[in-house]
Amino acid sequence: MARTTAPEIATRSATAAIEVRDLKKSFGEIEAVRGVSFEVAAGEVFGFLGPNGAGKTTTINMLCTLAKPTGGSALVAGHDVVSERDDVRRHIGLVFQETTLDGYLTAEQNLRLHAELYGVESALVPARMRQVLEMVGLWERRGTPVLTFSGGMRRRLEIARGLMHSPRVLFLDEPTLGLDPQTRSSIWRYISELQQTEEITIFMTTHYMDEAELCDRIAIMDHGEIVVLDTPAALKARVGADRVRIQTDDDEAAIEALAEGFDLEGRVSEGAVTFFVTSGEEFVPRLFAELGLPIKSVSVSRPTLDDVFMSHTGTTIRDAEESSATHRSKVMMQVMTGGRR
């Protein structure tokens, strides 16, 4: 996948596609977003990463003019999301987590409706429609009612529709959530294709770590705040240490031995004792010699974004989701009982 490097982005963007200053949103007493600030350069693929309930969707909703911020400001495509709402809307494409297609209409009718709502010049609609439908491989199915489409086809059609009016910024909220691996990889192919063919900025949220790696830059969000923001490579370099996983008969004893013998903090994750140490490969012989416990297997890996997430938030993204479930349900309650109005 051809990725633009950071200096190239800097030269390509005269103005930032998105500029966010101390953006806040509370639902009643619950602060869903607690003052975030960042910039996204034009042409960038920017990933918003974090567990469910971290405030990603609320942030994206504010940037898309769907929710009014309770504090701070945001410019999208050069326009203020509150005072120039319609100008923002003209320049953004949206793909939500849940489907927003009309199932009774055909793929083509859905796109035409979108073009009419956005006031796209009629003469250009057929050509543009063909282009976006071909990109997502649905041109042959254009006359079929959307009701008969699978989940993956619907998501692809939504992406096509989001692009119908040549937006400058495309917002994708969990675009690959719940999709099969094949569709997920197709969607990533479209994203890289778009970056090359159209002058478009992509802002996406995800909680798949492997997908976050494909972004130019990522921001990790947790409990309504941006914990860290950088390129995936820089983030991983920041962790520094390698991840070592060992399997033993007695995990408790192994963790104790690691602490006493090497001053390392191990923890059980996904069925193995895991710890971080610099130069992992060189450490392994020492480990076997000095641990004093039989080791059944060992693996050493370079840091992943999972590790980045862990080093910044203290938990894995999966554990964070479980612990934030209570917080999330509180926010949900607030939203459902009218906190959003």
């Binding site: 809307r89 003209r90 297609l101 199932g103 709502l117 006031g119 609609v125 543009r128 071909e134």
Partner: protein
């Protein structure tokens, strides 16, 4: 799924990028948005034959079953006029009402299936979308009314072009107001079950009180009051007057069956009655727009 994936693989190389532009909001763009929302109602109505058929069941039951069944009891007081002929104008109204109600209900479905969001985030005024929706509902409901209009011959009503035009106009008006009412309710009530419940609770009494099934003169006091405040009364009455103008019946029969709505003894003219329906429709449309503007 596998078939569609195959098309992804064999897809030709992407052609030159077609770049389009979204112009700033203008009156023309609002009209376009309104038109496409209106068209969507028509497309969906056409593709839903089941809905066209089921929406006919209730009016036809009232007209032919109730009309024929009660004929024996009422023949003495109808001055030789078929009961079916008498209730026909009322039936022309309720056929439109039920369809308009379903059109408005589709806003609740749209919200449930997420499509409402697609319309709400478009760079157009919410009012354009709400107006398009109401006009769409009105058009679709009037089509349904036309199907019943075709039955005129079966209930001894002549096919007069002026009559047909007048009936269609009144139906359009009524359908618009009912859709506006439904959209107004749909802005607040977000679950389909509750929406249908509320609509039934309001629409059925409105229908029974309106005088669709009985003459509005010499009613018991409480019913007369309810009848005069029922908005549907002001659609049924001009409809009946219009139909009866084209019937060849005795003056006594006309007086008994089509007494006309009175306010403290004053005969309300048909045009004013239509005006009442239109005014109520516009007020409810305004409330619906306000409600959709207020929601995020």
């Amino acid at each position: 799924m596998s078939a569609t994936e195959a098309t992804v693989v064999t897809r030709p190389a992407p052609p030159e990028v077609v770049r389009v532009r979204v112009p700033p909001r203008s009156f023309r763009s609002e009209l376009r948005a309104m038109k496409i929302v209106w068209q969507r109602e028509l497309i969906r109505f056409k593709s839903d034959r089941m809905r066209i058929a089921t929406a006919l069941v209730q009016p036809l039951l009232f007209l032919f079953v109730l009309g024929s069944g009660l004929q024996q009891l009422s023949s003495a007081s109808t001055h030789g006029v078929d009961l079916k002929t008498f209730i026909y104008p009322g039936i022309l109204c309720i056929a439109v009402m039920f369809t308009a109600m379903f059109s408005a209900a589709s806003i609740v479905w749209d919200r449930e299936f997420g499509f409402l969001r697609e319309m709400m985030v478009a760079p157009v005024r919410r009012s354009s979308i709400v107006i398009g929706k109401c006009l769409g509902g009105a058009t679709v409901a009037s089509f349904q009314g036309v199907i019943l209009l075709a039955l005129a011959g079966a209930v001894h009503v002549p096919y007069d072009p002026l009559l047909i035009l007048g009936v269609f106009g009144l139906q359009l008006l009524l359908a618009f107001s009912i859709t506006a009412f439904g959209v107004m309710v749909a802005a607040r009530i977000k679950q389909m079950q509750s929406f249908m419940g509320v609509m039934q609770m309001i629409v059925m009494p409105m229908f029974f009180i309106s005088g669709a099934l009985f003459p509005v003169a010499n009613l018991p006091g409480w019913l007369a009051v309810l009848n005069r405040i029922d908005p549907l009364t002001y659609a049924v009455d001009p409809m009946r007057r219009l139909v009866f103008n084209h019937l060849d019946i005795s003056a006594a029969a006309r007086k008994a069956l089509d007494p006309g709505v009175t306010w403290w003894g004053w005969h309300v003219p048909a045009l004013l009655e239509a005006g009442v329906v239109l005014a109520l429709g516009l007020v409810m449309l305004a409330i619906a727009i306000w409600e959709f503007n207020a929601s995020e």
